[in-house]
């Protein structure tokens, strides 16, 4: 019991209700009859929690939440998905992925459909599972689809290290990991993005540490707070940033760490070391955001041998990890994911939302992924 009570405090409905009222008051006060305060929640898990807990609808009219590029599946460029599908079609190859990639539509098909047609695509829960499969079937190549942020990258690095150490030669990584801070910078530079404050991702900050996000306040002057995932966590973060906004011209306190029980200033040093041992920053294509310099993870040094893009010969859509194309990628017809990832519109404003595009018949990845903004809003309606 003792261990749980700490966390129960953050789930406590009476504390949440109290904070909710304070946040509402503060926001109403700040907007002063004008438009709702625009706050971006960068992390997909926050998007989902805002729906699930009812915070988004409870604050309707006072705070307008816009979802950022914080769902790993949703920011994966469509051409990258096409490449993964094309790889899965190669005879003999076993492709391992987290479940949420399965139904993401590529240009013509999805991994799910390819599996029904005979491709060997397996859902796993950890990169180590993929390594285990590679051990069990040494005669077949096993490729792990590396889609994720700084949160999953350390576990992938661990699997790579182990593969190197145990000389597992049939294990490969399709490197498509992305980094959150460079994408944040791109958003902050983008004059299209009109947001007053930011709720920063709790899980990513656990790895990177608070300092990695300080630039949001110090370089760009936006009120921002790192939040955990229980209702009280999220409301506390909101309360703090609204307070900063109310203080107006007073000196800004920098990024506020509202998740200190998990996030330290420097983050998880061991995980960061693991990442930099195996990976190096490379330019990467983001769905809807285009090319962002040094925002992806490529394999480094002796780990390059695990690069599935190098090893396999399959019909390409995206060329190399990045071929320098910066134009808007050809998204599925009509999908407005790009605008959603920049916070320009909310999913309900997409004409396809809940008509042509539903979780059963997804047009874009944001409708498939459990952390996708469109799926969260769909279940929210």
């Amino acid at each position: 019991m003792s261990r749980e009570t700490v966390f129960d405090r953050y789930k406590d409905p009476s504390a949440a209700r109290y904070l909710l009222d304070r946040v509402k008051e503060l926001a109403e006060d700040l907007k002063n009859g004008g438009d709702p305060i625009k706050v971006m929640e960068v992390c997909g898990t926050h998007t989902v929690q805002l729906s699930k807990t009812g915070i988004r609808s409870a604050l309707e009219g006072a705070v307008r939440f816009v979802s950022g590029p914080g769902c790993p599946v949703c920011v994966t460029d469509q051409r990258t998905i096409d490449d993964m599908i094309s790889l899965a079609r190669l005879p003999g190859v076993i492709v391992c992925t987290f479940g949420d990639m399965m139904k993401v539509p590529g240009t013509y098909t999805s991994l799910y459909e390819e599996r029904a047609r005979g491709a060997d695509v397996r859902i796993i829960y950890s990169p180590m599972d993929a390594l285990q499969i590679a051990r069990e079937v040494p005669q077949r190549p096993v490729v792990f689809l590396g889609v994720g942020f700084e949160t999953t990258a350390p576990a992938v690095a661990l699997a790579l290290k182990s593969a190197l150490q145990h000389k597992i030669r049939n294990f490969y990584l399709f490197p498509a990991h992305k980094l959150v801070p460079p994408a944040m910078r791109a958003l902050l530079e983008d004059s299209d993005v009109e947001v007053s404050a930011y709720i920063l991702p709790g899980h990513v900050s656990t790895i990177l540490g608070k300092r990695a996000f300080d630039f949001v306040s110090s370089d760009y002057g936006y009120p921002s707070a790192i939040a955990g995932f229980e209702p009280v966590d999220i409301l506390l973060a909101l309360f703090s940033i609204l307070n900063v906004m109310r203080a107006g011209a007073a000196p800004k306190p920098g990024v506020i760490n509202c998740y200190p029980r998990a996030v330290t200033d420097d983050g998880n040093v061991r995980a960061k070391a693991l990442m930099s041992e195996c990976f190096k920053p490379v330019d990467a294509l983001w769905r809807g955001l285009g090319l962002i310099p040094e925002s992806g993870l490529g394999l480094k040094g002796e780990y390059s041998r695990f690069d599935a893009r190098e090893y396999f010969d399959f019909p390409r859509f995206s060329g190399d990890h990045c071929d320098g194309r910066t134009g808007a990628p050809p998204l599925s017809a009509g999908c407005m994911c790009g605008y959603i990832l920049k916070g320009k519109i909310t999913p309900v404003e997409c004409p396809l939302f809940s008509t042509a595009c539903t979780p059963e018949t997804p047009v874009g990845p944001c409708m498939v992924s459990g952390e996708g903004a469109c799926a969260a809003y769909y279940y929210d309606r």
Partner: protein, 379 residues
Amino acid sequence: MSVDINDRITLAHGDGGLKSRELVSDLFLKYFTGEPLRALTDSAILAQAEATIAFTTDAFVISPLFFPGGDIGKLSVTGTVNDLAVMGATPRYISASFILEEGFPVSDLKRIVASMAKTAGEAGVEVVTGDTKVVRKGEADGIFIVTSGLGFFRKGRTPLMPSLIRPGDLVLINGYVGDHGVAVLSSREGITLTTPVSSDCMPLSDLIESVLETCPSGSVRCMRDPTRGGLATVVNELAEASNLEIVLDEQSIPIREEVRAACDIFGLDPLYLANEGKVVAVVDSKWAEAAVGAMRSIPGGEEARIIGEVRECTGCGGPGSERCGRTDERSEKGRTDLNRNETALAPARPGKGRALLRLAIGGTRILRTLSGSELPRIC
């Protein structure tokens, strides 16, 4: 010669010859001891006074075959028994067909059959007929089991149907949700939880009998076992079938802390996880407390409670509005008619209806059905 426990299943165990007969006599008949089965006739002959019959069938494929709190054998009996019981019928007979993969260990088969026999005993049903086939290696995953079940309605009892649900009724559950889903998932993925979770897999015949005995005929409207798709899916089905709005209270739904924690890790929602020993009952509000008491008096019902209520659906602008999908008129006369068997058996008309969740921080949100199976991410 007899079946060797250290042996493995071969194609000969399914070809109808000597080895097949040995498997039947030395293994199956050792555990399944009902008279109609021992006769080994082509059909079981069941003497039964004429009564309304409930008949159901289900196929069981699960990995892993053995999980904390149960195994495929127990599941194959409880699944079918519970499908009969939730209709208001008393489960009586079941059939069991086995599809075995060549090379399957006889010792595992024995464990599974023993577990089926034990569960059948607890549920008060007899295994009266069955079949075994063996397929080549790679053509099945160890063992598949198909069971069918027959149940009978006691005198004065009629089938429980969603069409009987009325605004004002209360929604009950007999205990914690999500245990089975977490138990199977964590043992399949080889993830050790700090506090291990066992499947809730159990036959519900006694528990349901206790409720039906306590509450007067007609006061228990409908029951469902929230297996695949979990509580959220079942409540949606009930709302849709009755064209009514069902509001669950987030804080009243019993979920173990360890199940919540595991769900956080797997990125799942306990409301969508499978249960194998749970029943959702919709009961006339006057009898809801009594029904909870009846559940609590039976093992597996200790944590029974009221988790929600039924009301007129307002999602589309209210009954009678243009967008309302409801087509049946619920007159007072209709109400009495519905208590009669034949009307109750009329299929529920698909309409709108919806399920809501009353949130801990206030307000409600729609409780949706999921598309396909949940595809979790760990991040």
